[in-house]
Every structure is written in C-alpha cells, then in structure tokens.
C-alpha cells in the first residue's frame, strides 16, 4: 500500500464516521421534532377552547358547552387512591428486598416476578381489576377500583426506583449505624429512608405521571365515558366531616375524556380533545420535569 492509498482509506473512514454522526444527530432530532409537532398541533387545534368555562363545565353533547370538570376531579381522586396504595406498598417492598431479604428462593421469585410484572401490558391490569375488584370484591366501576388498578400497574416502577435508590447508599453508612447499637428498623428509618428519599420521590412521581395518562385499564374496568356530575364530596359540614363514600362513586378521568372526544367524527369535539390533551400533557410533563429535577439535584448534592 502506498502513502496515497492509506490517506484515501483514512479519508473514507473519516467520511463515514462524520456521516454517521450526522445521522445520529438527525435521529435524535426526529424524536425532538415529533414532540414539538405534537405539542404545536395540540395548541393550534385546542387553544381556542382553552377558557375558564372549559375547566369549570361538565361534558356535554354540545361541543361548545362541554368542559372537563368531572374528568379533572375524577383524575385527582383516582390519583389519591393510587398514591395512597402504591407508595407504601412499593417503598415497603423495595426496602424489604434491599435490606431484609435473605438470598433464597423466595427472594429470587419475588425479584423475577417484579421484573416480569413491569413488562405486563397495562390493559391486562384492567382485566385483573375487572375480574377481581369489579365482580369478585364487588367494588363496582368505582373510583376505588380505578385507583387500585393503577396502583398495581405502577407498583413495579416504584419498587424498582426504591431499590435503585437504596442500593446507591454505601455499606459503611449502615455499618456506622449498627456500630452505635441501632437496630435494623432504626437504621432503615433514620438513615436508609431519608438518604434514598430523592430517588424514591423521583420514582413515585414518574409512576404517578404514568398513571395519570393511562387509559386502557380504566376503560377495561368499564368506567363510563359520559359523567355529568361529581362524586360525593369527601368533606362535609356535619359530623364526622370526612367521608369515604366517594370511593364507590362512578367516575371518568382525563384520558378517557380525550379518547371519547377523539372518537367522535365532529371536528368541534376534536378541538375539545386537543384542549383536554394539552392539560393532560402539561400534567405529565410537569410531573416528569419535577422528577428529573429532583434526581438531578440529589445526584449533585450527595457525595458519600
């Protein structure tokens, strides 16, 4: 090979190297531009419907009068149930697997099982809730059923986030605590949980933001798509001031409302869908933003 040949080869290799780099940048930009197109499309179509009455009205047969009050309240209440069930269960399971579990067959099964659950399609959780909560436990198509279905759905996410956060805590922290005579529970309570809070919080928020956007399981349990009333108020002026009747009320949620409006042929309803879609998207993006920020902050702050 002459000098010239070698130079030519190098030039060709470099050419392909830079060509690929350009393709790589473009591929990444495709993702960005879809996100951008999606948001601008929603805004262009939905902005005109974006008024206060849209938020304060019930769904209606007339697109101009329809609003998202009941789905907004429904989503909020469902999220309350979901958070209330999934956070303690998920964090507890994560702590168990990282701090308490011995290396045996049971632990192995639980671990494999959680990985597998994370890959189960969301609609299957809907079928589970339909068979188990709606008909077997007879909770009906209620807020409780919906909240439980979504709680089970995001449980693996919360468990995995908790485990990852706990695993990042160095061993010497635990040993220092034991050396001072602390019991396991004291160590977990005073050291493990506070130090892994950032990671756990990130996972919890990510999980809840996923739950807010989930439509399939809620449709599967047979939630109604047209609800023009609110659930029973959880607080009242008479004793005992707080009640849980709302848990058993029928409901609708934001993504179902979007789905309902998209499925109609009239363009006016599509505008409503876009406007509700903006709100839904904003909720999930804000939650994700908060989660990413918390992760970033904690990663920066903690140096063991």
């Amino acid at each position: 090979m002459t000098d010239k040949d070698i130079k030519k080869r190098i030039a060709i290799s470099k050419f392909w190297d830079y060509t690929f780099m350009t393709i790589g940048v473009l591929s990444t930009l495709i993702g960005f531009s879809v996100l951008f197109a999606l948001m601008s499309d929603l805004f262009v179509n939905g902005m005109s419907r974006f008024t206060y009455t849209f938020i304060s009205s019930y769904p209606s047969r007339f697109p101009e009068e329809a609003g998202i009050l009941s789905p907004l309240v429904g989503t909020t209440l469902i999220m309350l149930v979901t958070a209330f069930v999934s956070i303690p269960l998920g964090v507890g399971a994560g702590i168990y697997l990282e701090e308490y579990a011995k290396k045996n067959w049971l632990t192995n099964i639980i671990e494999i099982n959680i990985t597998n659950l994370a890959g189960v399609p969301s609609i299957i959780y809907g079928l589970l809730a339909l068979g188990l909560f709606v008909y077997y436990f007879e909770f009906g198509q209620s807020i409780l059923t919906g909240g439980l279905a979504l709680a089970l759905l995001i449980l693996p996410m919360i468990i995995m986030a908790t485990r990852e956060a706990i695993r990042a805590i160095p061993k010497h922290i635990r040993e220092a605590s034991y050396a001072l005579g602390a019991t396991k529970w004291q160590t977990v309570r005073d050291h493990i949980i506070p130090y892994s809070m950032g990671g756990i919080l990130t996972g919890v928020i990510m999980g809840l933001s996923r739950a807010i956007g989930e439509t399939a399981p809620i449709i599967t349990i047979g939630a109604l798509t047209f609800i023009a009333f609110l659930p029973t108020s959880p607080v009242s002026t008479e004793f005992p001031y707080i009640n849980f009747n709302w848990l058993f009320d029928p409901f609708t949620v934001m993504p179902i409302q979007v789905f309902n409006w998209v499925s109609r042929p009239q363009a006016a309803f599509h505008q409503n869908a876009a406007a509700a879609g903006i709100i839904l998207l904003a909720m999930t993006l804000v939650m994700n933003g908060i989660a990413i920020y918390i992760r970033y902050r904690f990663r920066k702050r903690i140096k063991w």
């Binding site: 290799s13 392909w16 190297d17 690929f20 790589g24 591929s27 990444t28 495709i30 993702g31 960005f32 996100l35 197109a37 999606l38 499309d41 929603l42 179509n45 269960l89 998920g90 507890g92 399971a93 702590i95 168990y96 697997l97 308490y100 639980i110 099982n113 990985t115 597998n116 659950l117 890959g119 189960v120 399609p121 969301s122 609609i123 299957i124 959780y125 068979g131 188990l132 008909y135 449980l155 019991t183 396991k184 529970w185 977990v188 956007g213 439509t215 399939a216 449709i219 599967t220 979007v258 789905f259 998209v262 869908a273 876009a274 879609g277 839904l280 998207l281 999930t284 993006l285 994700n288």
Partner: protein, 296 residues
Amino acid sequence: MKISIYRKIKEGAVEGVFLLCGLSSIFITVGIVAVLAYEALGFFREVSVIDFLTGTEWTPLFADKKFGILPLVAGTLLITGIALSVALPLGLTVAIYLSEYAPHKIKEIAKPVLELLAAVPTVVYGYFALLFLTPILQKFFPEMSGFNALSPGIIMGIMIIPYISSVSEDAMKAVPMSIREGSYAMGATRLQTAIKVVIPAAFSGIAAAFIMGISRAIGETMVVAIAAGMMPNFTANPTQPVQTLTSYIVQVSLGDVPHGTLEYKTIFAVGMTLFLMTLGFNIIGFWLRSRIREAY
C-alpha cells in the same frame, strides 16, 4: 432485659410488614393468572381451542359468531412490525450516537427530552396519529383509509424509541473503556469501533432492548384503538384498518356487554393470548439482559 424483648417483637413486626409488601407483587401475578385462566377456561368450554387458534374470522359481536383469533394476532403483528421498523434503526442510531459520539452536555439534555417521548400519554399519541399523521400519509397514499395500520404503527415506533435507546445505551456503557481504547489505538474511527467492537460486546443488551420493544408494541393499546379502526381484517396491507388484541378488549369494554356472557369471556381469552405473548418476549429479554453482566 424488658427492652430487648420489646425491641425484638417490634423488629419482627416491622420485618413482617415489609415482607408482606414484598409478597404483594406475587399476589398480583397470581391474581392476573387466576382471573385470566378462570374466565378463559369458561370461554374454552364453549369454543374449541383449535378453532380459536386457527380460525381466520373474528366476529364475536355479530349474530353469526366466529372465534378465530388469527385476524387479531395478524393485526397486532402488523402494527408491531411497522413500529419496530421505525423504532429499531432510530433507537439504535440514537443509542450509538449518545454513547459513542455525543459530548457530555448534549447527552445531559438529549436523554431527558427523549424520555419525555415515553412520558406523553398514549391517548395523546392516538390523537396525533389519527388527526395529524394520517391526513399527511393520505397525501402520499390517496387510497389509504382514514383508519389504518401504518399511521399508529409509525407513531408507536417513535413512542418506543426511548425504551430501545436507553436500554441499548446502558448496555454499551457497560462495555469497558479499555476495549474501546484498544480499538482507537489501532486507528479505528468511532463508527468502526462502535460497529466492530462496542455493538458485538453489548449484543445481548441490545437484543434485550429490541425484545422489550417488541413486547411493549404488542401490549400498546390506545394509539391503536384510536387510529387503527376496530376492524378485525385478516390482512397484511398497512393502508387498511385492522384490529389488535388490545383494541378488541377496548371495543368490548366500551360497549355494554353483560357480565358472564360469552362475549364478556372473549376479552379474557384474548387477554390470556396477549399475556402469554408478552410473557414469552419478556422472558427472552430477561434472559438476554442477565447475560450482560456475565460478559466481563
């Protein structure tokens, strides 16, 4: 030593509570399998398994009921195929770019933004596929129907890019720097290193990412339910409306099907099929992923 007994009881109780939390995941799996199996068995008492698995007509909601799952499976595989032909090349290219080329600062921005792609509610993607992408595609394929497999397939592909790129990138990151440096020292470019060294070394992780992408695409519901129409066509033509396993369950759930009827049981039989398909892919993916750690 009164305190120590009290302590022991408390410690034991706390551990018990945590154990119960850990076991909850097993109860969920048992619950899923039990519910699906119970209702699906009821279904198969009335419809033979062979007809179910080999029939090419799916009309359980009509007067003339036919229970052949193949049109739904074909629809699912068609859309999954379209989604993967978008997601695999793009996801892998993004992963190589981010892991081998991109400077730290770009990575810091690009990764969270890509993650947002996975965070957008699927119902919003459905809206986008039906009302934005389909009209554009119809300009290129005038004969394309308003509901079709192509548009939700493409959108689903873009939706799963972050899943594929992040798992593949993790696998590439696990390849030791020394191996790359060996390649650079021989005069290889970044592209040559990526193709000849990094990808083969991270192969099982990348394969796991692909498999998990497949499993996600099979289980995806709303994009398809909104934009693919709800017609169980036994076709491979992406311009035609199709129905998937998931969107059939949605269709039945939206209607008023009474509890305990054969129509009601069909969604569990379909759900069982879906569950087993994704389970198969998940197990392969899990196995491939556990091989990453063995490599070095």
